[in-house]
Amino acid sequence: MSKSVLIADDEPNIVISLEFLLEQAGYQVRVAHDGQEALEAIQRQPPDLLLLDVMLPRLSGFDVCQKIRENPAWQPMRIVMLTAKGREVEVSKGLALGADAYITKPFSTQELLAQVRDLLADR
């Protein structure tokens, strides 16, 4: 069975590109447009990996990440944070909150796919 990925981003065009890339790589892809929607999607069916934008409406990526790590049932889920704010502080904050990787926008599609592949292969 193929691995599932949830994309949580509020930029429609970025979502389209990620959706295309991940489906092409053979993953089951779902999309959430803000933090709240992402959490609800996870409650319904936790994905193997979450691509999580930081600047999300309603509930920020950091909050989503924290809530996921608070729930022991969701420990196996891999989290890759995506952000256009590439400052050191943001990176260490994300990693401290339990993200597995941190990718800054604009990203290289190849590197993003490699990162996702590596994290999912670890399991």
């Binding site: 065009n13 447009h33 803000d34 256009a84 604009p106």
Partner: protein, 925 residues
């Protein structure tokens, strides 16, 4: 058999050996292999304290007052116990501030005051000259006594001879020459003389060995040990008296004052400061010196009483001066070699003192007396001279010669009026005057320059009145009635019983009054005066030397050119030495050469230290100020000082008031600082937000480009869709960059304005025409309500159009999806035109009505789709309208659409014109 030629030969050889040692020491120091870097040499060199006054004079004093010779050595022994506390701090302060003499120390402590440095130098010179005279007297009379050998005859004193037959003159000239060659071979910023120290340590060894040799010869050669000698001595009529306190051996009071006096002089005699502070290589050497130095004093005193008693027993009363017992005892017993050794020992005691003392004094005269005067004396043109190192050496050499000749003159004029020991005490009392300013400066932050000046002056005057003038009177330069009846026969002004204080010995009396006046004036004037900020900074550096190591330069802000600074230092140290010093400094800083140095506070501080070594701290400041532009202290330093100041200045109401003002200023400065930091943070946020906003479209562009690149086989429809996204995002990126630049221009006031009188209705119609295509596509209806007559306004047409387009496209974006409608209305108000742009969308939450005018803040239906746009349109529009003197705002409620309104002032067209051209206002007014 006379010894004549042999004396000269031995003395010559001895001086030759000394010179060889000094030369060797300097050579080793130059290659970095110091021979004096060990605590034994340090302790031995400290024994320069024991001069010929000790070597010959101790026995003389013991013959007159028995154990009364001891306090002079008990004082230093007691003080040695305090070395770790006091002397170590003095050394640390001096190293940290490149201090080269006592005068320099006091001048630097009280705000680098040239006046204070000069005063200290003057006191030191006047106080110490008699002491130098004493050494000359000792050398010349011991030479004359030995010259008579085998006869034992007291020399016919100098006054009878012409100066040219006087041995003392030749001794003085020879010593001057020797000291010049010894101590002023080159200038050095640290003012250290390693070779000299080595030679002085050697001399200390020689004088100790010579004295011990006589002692052993007398005790064990002439008698059968101590017990035998003292047993025979009890038969002397005076022996009881000499061995108990209370009689000629001194009262308890005089013992106390002598001990106290010598405690101070071991610290403040210029030669002791030179040896123990300036020449100190490593402050840890003090740990050994603390017990080695007292041990030395003990050793050189062990045989004083045996020799005294032996002398008293061997020579008929009055035939031989007791001061000469050390020499005459071996002579009387035909011990030629021993007599020669004693003479050499006395010579080394005298030369050691003279050399160090004159070097220390010449440094003071040069740095704290001559340089400040030359610097002030414009006609001399010091500032223009290129290489001053020669001049500096010349001044020092001249000073040494002058000091020696003054010593000789004093010896000729007054030498016979006093026994050796009293002259030494007069000098001790003079340098004791430095104690309040020095010790206070090291431990009391409030001591001020004015306090030090008044303390030193008053103490010095009282010293001169109670010790120096009586000495002059005894020498016959003043009528004796001056002592006996007081000046003008005013009894309470009698110099030896001032204000009726009788019953103390001369020294104790003088010490009491001079130190009382000195300390009282120092503390009193300090308490009632204020410190300048420089004084305060120096006070902190000195008192807190163990806490603030290396903070010396932080209280300085300014600018200078490196080459000017180096050139300045070069003029005093010589260009080669200066270049070398700065190259070393650059190397320490990890720079390739001195050319790469930055002219910062550290560099100026370094230069000041180098100069301070050559010309004293006060003069160094003045010189550096000529090439350095000082700026006011920075905020942090001011805050630091104010913190200190608010504590220090709290003691009187007037000062408290000032303190409050300072606190207020501190508060204001802090607030200003906080505001600046907030601005800085906002700027950071703005840049970070801009970057973030730019990255978002760039992300899509990059992702789709890579997808297209990696997937050549994509279906044409999908391909077209992706390319369309790239195009759209590129446009968004371009728009964003343009708007950021636009906003930056508007905000910085660098935007171009083409202001003209224009018809607002026409501009609105233009805007509507431009957007009609877009509105039609979205099925949005547009209503226009323009009055028949619209008065002209002054504005930039393109900018106004920009605002209208922004408002209309915003309205189109947010109006009702199905039945969108936009209404534009213009009203003519008494003083302005008002434009309303109303849509029939969902409206804007009151909470968001302010934020939409902030940069990059967009409000939209986040659940569905991000609003298109940059988030800069409204902030830009508001900037533009406000530039025209109008206002832009929004009124809305949820579910009832939104109305964006702006006004443009009508006024008199000329008035409006002033707003834009600005400068004409004054002409019209």
């Amino acid at each position: 058999m006379p010894l004549g030629g042999l004396i000269l030969l031995t003395s010559g050889a001895y001086l030759g050996i000394l010179f060889a040692i000094a030369y060797w020491g300097d050579k080793r120091a130059d290659v970095g292999r110091s021979i004096i870097a060990n605590p034994y040499i340090y302790a031995l060199s400290m024994a320069v304290y024991a001069t010929s006054w000790t070597f010959y004079g101790s026995v003389g004093r013991a013959a007159a007052s028995g154990v009364g010779f001891l306090p002079i050595y008990l004082g230093p022994t007691l003080m040695a116990a305090l070395f770790w506390l006091v002397l170590r701090k003095m050394i640390r302060i001096s190293k940290a501030n490149r201090i080269t003499s006592i005068a320099d120390f006091i001048a630097a402590r009280y705000g680098k005051s040239a006046l204070l440095g000069g005063l200290v130098t003057l006191i030191a010179v006047i106080g110490v000259i008699p002491y130098i005279a004493l050494q000359l007297k000792a050398v010349s009379s011991s030479f004359l006594i030995l010259w008579q050998y085998p006869e034992i005859r007291m020399p016919n004193q100098g006054q009878a001879l012409g100066p040219l037959q006087d041995t003392a003159l030749y001794v003085a000239l020879l010593l001057a020459l020797f000291t010049i060659v010894f101590g002023t071979r080159h200038l050095d910023a640290t003012e250290r003389h390693e070779g000299m120290v080595a030679a002085i340590a050697f001399e200390s060894l020689v004088k100790l060995l010579a004295f011990l040799a006589v002692g052993i010869f007398v005790t064990f050669g002439l008698y059968h040990g101590f017990a035998d000698l003292f047993a025979q001595a009890t038969r002397l009529p005076a022996s009881d008296r000499l061995l108990t306190l209370g009689g000629p051996a001194g009262t308890y009071g005089s013992w106390a004052s002598l001990i106290f006096l010598s405690m101070l002089s071991i610290l403040f005699l210029p030669r002791q400061f030179q040896i123990s502070v300036v020449e100190n290589v490593n402050e840890n050497h003090l740990a050994k010196a603390i017990w080695l130095f007292p041990l030395y004093l003990l050793a050189i005193n062990v045989f004083v009483l045996p020799i005294t008693f032996a002398g008293l027993m061997q020579f008929p009363a009055g035939s031989v001066d007791a001061d000469a017992f050390v020499l005459t005892l071996p002579m009387a017993h035909r011990q030629e070699a021993l007599a020669l050794l004693v003479f050499i020992g006395g010579l080394s005691a005298a030369t050691g003192m003279v050399i160090v003392e004159t070097i220390a004094l010449s440094t003071m005269i040069c740095n704290d007396l001559a340089m400040p005067l030359l610097l002030r004396w414009k006609a001399f043109g010091l500032a223009q001279r290129s290489d001053l190192s020669g001049l500096l050496l010349g001044i020092r050499r001249g000073a040494i010669l002058l000091l020696m000749l003054l010593g000789y003159l004093y010896y000729r004029a007054a030498g016979e009026a006093y026994a050796l020991v009293s002259i030494g005490l007069v000098s001790f009392a003079a340098v004791a005057q430095f104690a309040p300013a020095m010790l206070g400066g090291m431990y009391w932050k409030q001591g001020t320059r004015a306090g030090a000046l008044s303390g030193l002056s008053l103490g010095f005057l009282l010293w001169a009145y109670t010790l120096l003038l009586p000495a002059f009177a005894k020498s016959g330069w003043l009528p004796l009635s001056f002592i006996e009846q007081g000046p003008l026969a005013i009894a309470w002004l009698k110099p030896l019983a001032l204000f009726g204080l009788a019953g103390l010995d001369e020294i104790g009396h003088s010490l009491f009054w001079s130190l009382l006046g000195n300390l009282g004036a120092y503390v009193g004037v300090s308490l009632f005066g204020r410190q300048s900020s420089r004084e305060h900074a120096q006070a902190l550096l000195f008192v807190d030397v163990f806490k603030v190591a290396g903070r010396g330069s932080s209280l300085w802000r300014g600018s200078a050119s490196v080459s000017e600074v180096i050139a300045l230092v070069g003029r005093f140290l010589g260009p080669a030495r200066a270049a070398e010093a700065f190259a070393d400094y650059a190397a320490q800083r990890g720079r390739q050469s001195s050319a790469e140095l930055v002219p910062d506070a550290d560099l100026v501080h370094f230069a000041e230290q180098q100069l301070a070594g050559a010309i004293g701290t006060a003069s160094a400041r003045v010189m550096l100020a000529s090439v350095v532009q000082e700026e006011p202290l920075g905020m942090d330093e001011v805050l630091g000082i104010l913190d200190e100041a608010s504590q220090v200045l709290a003691y009187s109401r007037r000062l408290e008031q000032q303190s409050h003002e300072l606190e207020a200023a501190t508060g204001e400065l802090r607030a200003a600082n906080a505001r600046l930091q907030e601005l800085d943070r906002l700027k950071d946020d703005f840049i970070s937000t801009v970057t973030h906003e730019l990255r978002t479209p760039l992300t899509s562009i990059r992702a789709f480009s890579e997808i297209l690149n990696d997937n050549p086989e994509l279906e044409p429809a999908q391909r077209a869709r992706f390319i369309a996204i790239i195009v759209k995002e590129s446009e968004r990126l371009t728009r964003m960059i343009n708007q950021v630049l636009d906003l930056a221009k508007l905000e910085s006031g660098r935007a171009e304005w083409h202001t003209a009188s224009l018809d607002l209705a026409e501009v609105i119609e233009d805007a509507v025409a431009t957007t009609s295509q877009l509105l039609q596509e979205q099925g949005v209806q547009l209503g226009l309500d323009l009055p028949a007559q619209v008065p002209p306004v002054l504005a930039d047409r393109d900018r106004l159009l920009q605002v209208l387009l922004n408002l209309i496209s915003n309205a189109a974006k947010f109006c009702d999806r199905q039945a969108g409608r936009i209404d534009i209305a213009v009203q003519v108000l008494p003083e302005a035109l008002r434009v309303d742009v109303r849509d029939n969308g969902d409206g804007i939450d009151p909470a968001d009505q302010q934020t939409i005018f902030e940069k990059f803040r967009q409000v939209g239906d986040n659940l569905t789709e991000k609003p298109q746009g940059t988030g800069l349109g409204l902030p830009i529009s508001r900037q533009i309208i406000e530039h025209f003197g109008g206002r832009l705002w929004v009124r809305s409620a949820r579910g009832q659409g939104a109305t964006f309104s702006f006004t443009l002032p009508l006024g008199a067209p000329t008035l409006a014109a002033e707003r834009f051209s600005g400068s004409e206002t004054e002409n019209r007014a």
